[in-house]
């Protein structure tokens, strides 16, 4: 589903590489934690998958397509197959819960009937049924993140990318979010989650890829957050 082949990335105007010779293969339906300290290259990894940047060297294949060879006008099409969730939720404050989720479908031109049918379904899936007409600032952090996950998942993407989705949440709420991501993963969606949350990684016992200074230093199936230091 996602394959990195000798990928290096150096940002313009910087001498140090953000990623260096990364080789990773993530299969369809996997759940992968991306761990490492700040600046280790986790965000760069995710941005490259979204084709927000090009690689400096190497190739990235997403769903069988080489991102370097993708014409820029096809990038939007590619992104429709990837859902993204962030630490800071990124909801539109002037739209209700349902409108926020529907927005993702509206702007890619989905028919209104489809939107009317899909949005309540996905809101129920994330456990927000009954809160469709709330505004984001009336919700708790966990609920806001559920809205963001609903928006990321409403178009049934093949891949869900989550960049520290529990970073702003308390431990109890985080568990709920992880259960939700696990449920989405069970529908066959590949989930790649960058995180600092030791206890979550240790509890879930999923594949762990650890980055350090742009290198992959560990890639374990059923791993934990870190070695005993």
């Amino acid at each position: 589903m996602i394959r990195f082949e000798n990928v290096s990335k150096t940002y313009e105007g910087q001498s140090k590489a953000a990623l260096l010779n990364v080789n990773v293969e993530i299969e369809k339906g996997e759940f992968v934690f991306l761990v490492g300290t700040s600046g280790s290259g986790k965000s760069t990894f995710l941005r490259l998958v979204l084709r927000e940047h090009r690689t400096t060297r190497g190739h990235i294949m997403v769903a069988g397509k080489d991102l370097n060879r993708l014409a820029s006008w096809r990038i939007p099409q590619m992104r429709r197959q990837i859902g993204t969730v962030f630490q800071d939720f990124r909801l539109l404050p002037n739209k209700t819960v349902a409108e926020n989720v529907a927005f993702a479908l509206q702007v890619i031109g989905k028919p209104r009937a489809h939107i009317r049918k899909t949005v309540p379904e996905v809101l129920e899936l994330v456990g927000l049924d009954g809160k469709e007409d709330r505004m984001p600032d009336e919700l708790s952090g966990g609920e806001q993140q559920r809205v963001a996950i609903a928006r990321a998942f409403v178009n049934r993407p093949m891949i869900l990318i989550a960049d520290e989705p529990t970073g702003n949440l308390d431990p109890g709420t985080s568990v709920g979010i992880m259960k939700l991501l696990d449920r989405i993963n069970r529908t066959g969606t590949t989930v790649v989650m960058a995180t600092h949350d030791v206890s979550i990684v240790d509890q879930m016992r999923k594949r762990v890829i650890e980055l350090e200074n742009g290198h992959v230093v560990r890639d374990e199936s059923r791993g934990v957050y870190g070695y005993q230091h």
């Binding site: 820029s72 429709r80 990124r90």
Partner: protein, 303 residues
């Protein structure tokens, strides 16, 4: 594509940017008005040139007892001198075939009386005070210098009048006006372009959350650009419509009501020319709005 979302986006965008949009509209309005006036001034010059160059002729006035021209000796022109002058004119290569008419004192007096029929001056002038003349048509109205110098100074020739001498300063003035209007229109249009890209930068900043999410979920670039394009096109259209209105009002009050009444002899620009100018103005306005919008949105909405 869902039109209602786009339209509601457009409404929000216009409201948010109202003062900038108004600034763009006003700038486009003024600059297109100037541009349109320049177009009309050019049409006017062409019309006048066509009108006058058609009829243009050189008038060779012959001596009377009172005239003090170079070829006069204080006496009436003699028949011999007249024959000689006519011969010089007729053999000149620039004279049109059958292009020489002789106007006698009597004919001159008749046309004088016609021209000033309401004026008291007619009663004080006698036929004898009129000047005989030759009226010469040219093959090419722009080549008059040669004939003028050949005839001027011949015995019996008082003065040689060439209409171009009087028209050229007028055309020059109109041309200058036109160039001035075009330059100011150009400067204002540059200002309008900058305002448009500035407005879009602000609008893109104001909508950065929405745009960020649109890009993230895979909205097409065109879909993201469309509200900005529509905004710019709408502003340009409103400005262009105001400018067209201004031009029509100007043509109606200045040309149709005033100039045409006062200077009936001249042909003036009318509805056809104005309509043509307004069409060009609208097209120019739209093009000038769309191009910077495309460039700026590409820059600020980079995928």
């Amino acid at each position: 594509m869902r039109l209602n979302y786009i339209l509601s986006d457009l409404g929000i965008g216009l409201k948010r940017n109202l003062s900038m949009t108004i600034a763009v509209v006003v700038t486009i309005w003024v600059s297109l008005s100037l541009f349109g006036s320049a177009l009309l001034a050019r049409e006017q010059v062409d019309l006048m040139k066509g009108n006058w160059y058609d009829k243009i002729q050189i008038s060779v006035f012959l001596c009377t007892k009172d005239s003090g021209g170079r070829g006069c000796s204080g006496a009436e022109v003699t028949q011999e001198q007249k024959n000689r002058i006519q011969q010089v004119i007729q053999t000149n290569p620039d004279t049109a075939p059958d292009g020489v008419f002789s106007e006698s004192k009597k004919e001159a007096f008749e046309s004088f009386k016609k021209l000033y029929k309401d004026s008291p001056i007619v009663s004080t002038v006698t036929e004898d005070q009129m000047q005989e003349s030759f009226r010469v048509k040219l093959r090419d109205p722009t080549r008059y210098q040669n004939l003028v110098s050949a005839v001027a100074g011949l015995p019996g020739v008082d003065t040689v009048q060439d209409l171009r001498q009087y028209l050229d300063p007028l055309f020059k003035a109109l041309n200058g006006l036109q160039v001035g209007a075009l330059i100011s229109a150009g400067l204002l249009l540059v200002a309008a372009l900058m305002q448009i890209s500035n407005t879009i930068r602000l609008a893109a900043y104001a909508r950065r959350r929405e745009i960020g999410i649109m890009r993230l979920v895979g909205a097409s670039n065109f879909y993201i650009q469309l509200p900005f394009l529509l905004e710019a096109v709408l502003a340009a259209l409103i400005g262009a419509i105001f400018a067209c209105g201004t031009l029509w009002v100007g043509v109606y009050f200045v040309v149709m009501q005033r100039a045409q009444e006062t200077f009936r002899v001249w042909q003036w620009v009318g509805a056809t020319e104005t309509f043509r100018a307004t069409l060009i103005m609208v097209v120019v306005g739209l093009v000038l709005a769309v191009i910077p919008t495309f460039l700026t949105t590409r820059k600020y909405l980079k995928v």
